[in-house]
Symmetry: C2
Subunit: 84 residues, 2 copies
Amino acid sequence: MKSRKIFNRIAVLRIERKMSRQELAEKIGVNFQTIGYLEREEYNPSLDLAFRISEVFKLPIPFIFSTKPLKALSDELLNKKTNN
Amino acid sequence: MKSRKIFNRIAVLRIERKMSRQELAEKIGVNFQTIGYLEREEYNPSLDLAFRISEVFKLPIPFIFSTKPLKALSDELLNKKTNN
DNA sequence: GCTTATTATTGTATATATGCAACATTTGGT
DNA sequence: ACCAAATGTTGCATATATACAATAATAAGC
Protein backbone atom coordinates (compact mmCIF):
# COMPACT_ATOMS: atom_id res chain seq x y z
CA MET A 1 0.00 0.00 0.00
CA LYS A 2 2.93 2.42 -0.02
CA SER A 3 2.30 4.14 3.26
CA ARG A 4 2.36 7.92 3.48
CA LYS A 5 4.68 9.65 5.87
CA ILE A 6 3.00 10.84 9.04
CA PHE A 7 4.23 13.93 10.83
CA ASN A 8 4.18 14.28 14.59
CA ARG A 9 4.82 16.54 17.56
CA ILE A 10 6.38 13.93 19.80
CA ALA A 11 9.70 15.71 20.30
CA VAL A 12 8.14 19.04 21.27
CA LEU A 13 5.63 17.46 23.59
CA ARG A 14 8.26 15.33 25.25
CA ILE A 15 10.55 18.29 25.82
CA GLU A 16 7.74 20.47 27.12
CA ARG A 17 7.15 17.77 29.69
CA LYS A 18 10.87 17.59 30.44
CA MET A 19 11.22 13.91 29.69
CA SER A 20 14.15 12.09 28.17
CA ARG A 21 13.46 9.56 25.45
CA GLN A 22 14.34 6.90 27.96
CA GLU A 23 11.59 8.04 30.31
CA LEU A 24 9.01 8.44 27.60
CA ALA A 25 9.92 5.04 26.23
CA GLU A 26 9.37 3.45 29.63
CA LYS A 27 5.97 5.04 30.12
CA ILE A 28 4.92 3.81 26.73
CA GLY A 29 6.55 0.43 26.88
CA VAL A 30 8.88 0.58 23.89
CA ASN A 31 12.60 0.66 23.36
CA PHE A 32 14.06 4.13 23.75
CA GLN A 33 15.51 4.01 20.26
CA THR A 34 12.03 3.59 18.89
CA ILE A 35 11.19 7.02 20.23
CA GLY A 36 14.15 8.33 18.29
CA TYR A 37 12.91 6.82 15.06
CA LEU A 38 9.48 8.31 15.62
CA GLU A 39 10.75 11.79 16.47
CA ARG A 40 12.93 11.83 13.37
CA GLU A 41 9.91 10.55 11.46
CA GLU A 42 11.93 7.70 10.02
CA TYR A 43 8.89 5.52 10.29
CA ASN A 44 5.31 5.69 11.43
CA PRO A 45 4.11 4.31 14.74
CA SER A 46 1.57 1.52 14.76
CA LEU A 47 -1.94 2.59 15.66
CA ASP A 48 -1.52 1.03 19.08
CA LEU A 49 1.68 2.96 19.70
CA ALA A 50 -0.03 6.16 18.56
CA PHE A 51 -2.76 5.50 21.10
CA ARG A 52 -0.24 4.94 23.87
CA ILE A 53 1.51 8.19 23.07
CA SER A 54 -1.83 9.94 22.99
CA GLU A 55 -2.58 8.49 26.42
CA VAL A 56 0.73 9.52 27.95
CA PHE A 57 0.44 13.08 26.69
CA LYS A 58 -3.29 13.12 27.33
CA LEU A 59 -3.83 14.64 23.91
CA PRO A 60 -5.94 13.37 21.00
CA ILE A 61 -4.20 11.51 18.21
CA PRO A 62 -5.01 14.09 15.52
CA PHE A 63 -3.31 16.77 17.61
CA ILE A 64 -0.10 14.78 17.82
CA PHE A 65 -0.10 13.13 14.40
CA SER A 66 -1.00 14.43 10.98
CA THR A 67 -0.67 13.50 7.35
CA LYS A 68 0.37 17.06 6.61
CA PRO A 69 3.36 18.86 8.12
CA LEU A 70 2.49 20.29 11.50
CA LYS A 71 2.88 23.99 12.22
CA ALA A 72 4.93 24.95 15.24
CA LEU A 73 2.82 25.10 18.37
CA SER A 74 4.05 28.63 19.03
CA ASP A 75 2.78 29.79 15.64
CA GLU A 76 -0.54 28.06 15.95
CA LEU A 77 -1.11 29.65 19.31
CA LEU A 78 -0.36 33.21 18.20
CA ASN A 79 -2.44 32.89 15.06
CA LYS A 80 -5.41 31.56 16.93
CA LYS A 81 -5.75 34.41 19.39
CA THR A 82 -5.37 37.62 17.40
CA ASN A 83 -5.30 39.41 20.76
CA ASN A 84 -1.59 39.41 21.47
CA MET B 1 6.15 -4.42 22.04
CA LYS B 2 3.26 -6.90 22.05
CA SER B 3 0.67 -4.69 20.45
CA ARG B 4 -2.78 -4.37 22.02
CA LYS B 5 -5.85 -5.16 20.02
CA ILE B 6 -7.65 -2.13 18.73
CA PHE B 7 -11.41 -2.15 18.28
CA ASN B 8 -13.16 -0.33 15.47
CA ARG B 9 -16.44 0.65 13.90
CA ILE B 10 -15.45 0.11 10.29
CA ALA B 11 -18.09 -2.45 9.46
CA VAL B 12 -20.98 -0.39 10.84
CA LEU B 13 -19.81 2.80 9.21
CA ARG B 14 -19.29 1.08 5.89
CA ILE B 15 -22.75 -0.46 5.94
CA GLU B 16 -24.39 2.77 7.01
CA ARG B 17 -22.87 4.29 3.92
CA LYS B 18 -24.01 1.35 1.81
CA MET B 19 -20.58 0.44 0.54
CA SER B 20 -19.18 -2.98 -0.20
CA ARG B 21 -15.70 -3.82 1.05
CA GLN B 22 -14.59 -3.61 -2.52
CA GLU B 23 -15.74 -0.01 -2.83
CA LEU B 24 -14.34 1.04 0.51
CA ALA B 25 -11.06 -0.63 -0.34
CA GLU B 26 -10.84 1.32 -3.58
CA LYS B 27 -11.49 4.65 -1.92
CA ILE B 28 -8.82 3.91 0.59
CA GLY B 29 -6.34 2.33 -1.74
CA VAL B 30 -5.94 -1.10 -0.18
CA ASN B 31 -6.82 -4.63 -1.15
CA PHE B 32 -10.43 -5.50 -0.38
CA GLN B 33 -9.35 -8.41 1.79
CA THR B 34 -7.51 -6.02 4.03
CA ILE B 35 -10.84 -4.41 4.90
CA GLY B 36 -12.05 -7.84 5.92
CA TYR B 37 -9.13 -8.36 8.27
CA LEU B 38 -9.72 -4.96 9.82
CA GLU B 39 -13.46 -5.45 10.29
CA ARG B 40 -12.88 -8.81 11.93
CA GLU B 41 -10.21 -7.11 14.03
CA GLU B 42 -7.70 -9.76 13.07
CA TYR B 43 -5.06 -7.12 12.99
CA ASN B 44 -4.66 -3.41 13.52
CA PRO B 45 -4.38 -0.92 10.70
CA SER B 46 -1.23 1.12 10.35
CA LEU B 47 -1.56 4.72 11.47
CA ASP B 48 -1.63 5.83 7.86
CA LEU B 49 -4.43 3.45 7.05
CA ALA B 50 -6.35 4.64 10.11
CA PHE B 51 -6.00 8.19 8.81
CA ARG B 52 -7.27 7.21 5.38
CA ILE B 53 -10.30 5.53 6.87
CA SER B 54 -10.90 8.58 9.03
CA GLU B 55 -10.74 10.73 5.89
CA VAL B 56 -13.14 8.58 3.90
CA PHE B 57 -15.71 8.52 6.66
CA LYS B 58 -14.97 12.11 7.62
CA LEU B 59 -14.85 11.10 11.26
CA PRO B 60 -12.04 11.51 13.78
CA ILE B 61 -9.80 8.55 14.50
CA PRO B 62 -10.82 8.20 18.15
CA PHE B 63 -14.44 7.87 17.08
CA ILE B 64 -13.65 5.00 14.76
CA PHE B 65 -10.87 3.28 16.71
CA SER B 66 -10.47 2.57 20.39
CA THR B 67 -8.33 0.52 22.71
CA LYS B 68 -11.49 -0.47 24.58
CA PRO B 69 -14.48 -2.28 23.07
CA LEU B 70 -16.81 0.17 21.37
CA LYS B 71 -20.42 0.43 22.37
CA ALA B 72 -23.01 0.08 19.62
CA LEU B 73 -23.79 3.41 18.01
CA SER B 74 -27.48 2.89 18.64
CA ASP B 75 -26.86 2.53 22.40
CA GLU B 76 -24.54 5.48 22.60
CA LEU B 77 -27.08 7.64 20.90
CA LEU B 78 -29.98 6.73 23.16
CA ASN B 79 -27.93 7.04 26.33
CA LYS B 80 -26.67 10.45 25.40
CA LYS B 81 -30.04 12.08 24.99
CA THR B 82 -32.16 10.98 27.98
CA ASN B 83 -35.08 12.57 26.19
CA ASN B 84 -36.33 9.64 24.16
C1' DG C 1 -34.13 -23.29 -5.49
C1' DC C 2 -30.80 -21.15 -8.42
C1' DT C 3 -27.59 -17.65 -9.44
C1' DT C 4 -24.69 -14.07 -8.28
C1' DA C 5 -22.45 -10.94 -5.19
C1' DT C 6 -20.30 -10.62 -0.84
C1' DT C 7 -17.61 -12.30 2.75
C1' DA C 8 -14.50 -15.86 5.03
C1' DT C 9 -10.47 -18.96 5.00
C1' DT C 10 -6.00 -20.62 3.95
C1' DG C 11 -1.56 -20.07 2.33
C1' DT C 12 2.43 -17.55 0.71
C1' DA C 13 5.13 -13.33 -0.29
C1' DT C 14 6.69 -8.62 0.79
C1' DA C 15 7.02 -4.23 3.29
C1' DT C 16 7.37 -1.91 7.45
C1' DA C 17 7.63 -1.34 12.56
C1' DT C 18 10.01 -2.62 16.63
C1' DG C 19 13.92 -4.58 19.49
C1' DC C 20 18.51 -4.70 20.49
C1' DA C 21 23.54 -3.87 20.50
C1' DA C 22 27.67 -1.29 19.56
C1' DC C 23 29.69 2.77 18.50
C1' DA C 24 29.77 7.88 16.93
C1' DT C 25 28.26 12.44 17.60
C1' DT C 26 26.19 16.16 19.93
C1' DT C 27 24.77 18.70 23.90
C1' DG C 28 24.84 20.40 28.80
C1' DG C 29 26.89 21.29 33.06
C1' DT C 30 30.81 22.49 35.53
C1' DA D 1 38.11 22.16 27.86
C1' DC D 2 36.34 18.03 30.16
C1' DC D 3 32.96 14.74 31.45
C1' DA D 4 28.55 12.75 31.36
C1' DA D 5 24.09 12.34 29.47
C1' DA D 6 21.38 12.38 25.50
C1' DT D 7 20.85 11.55 20.82
C1' DG D 8 22.16 9.69 16.15
C1' DT D 9 23.80 5.84 13.08
C1' DT D 10 24.37 1.30 11.39
C1' DG D 11 23.27 -3.28 11.10
C1' DC D 12 20.67 -7.34 11.96
C1' DA D 13 16.67 -10.03 13.98
C1' DT D 14 11.71 -10.54 14.71
C1' DA D 15 6.78 -9.39 14.64
C1' DT D 16 3.03 -7.62 12.26
C1' DA D 17 0.48 -5.40 8.38
C1' DT D 18 -0.63 -5.64 3.63
C1' DA D 19 -1.02 -7.87 -1.12
C1' DC D 20 -2.54 -11.44 -3.75
C1' DA D 21 -4.67 -15.78 -5.33
C1' DA D 22 -7.67 -19.63 -5.00
C1' DT D 23 -11.36 -21.75 -2.92
C1' DA D 24 -15.26 -22.23 0.57
C1' DA D 25 -19.14 -20.45 2.78
C1' DT D 26 -22.83 -17.12 3.27
C1' DA D 27 -26.18 -13.81 1.96
C1' DA D 28 -29.28 -11.42 -1.45
C1' DG D 29 -32.10 -11.09 -5.49
C1' DC D 30 -34.93 -13.22 -8.49
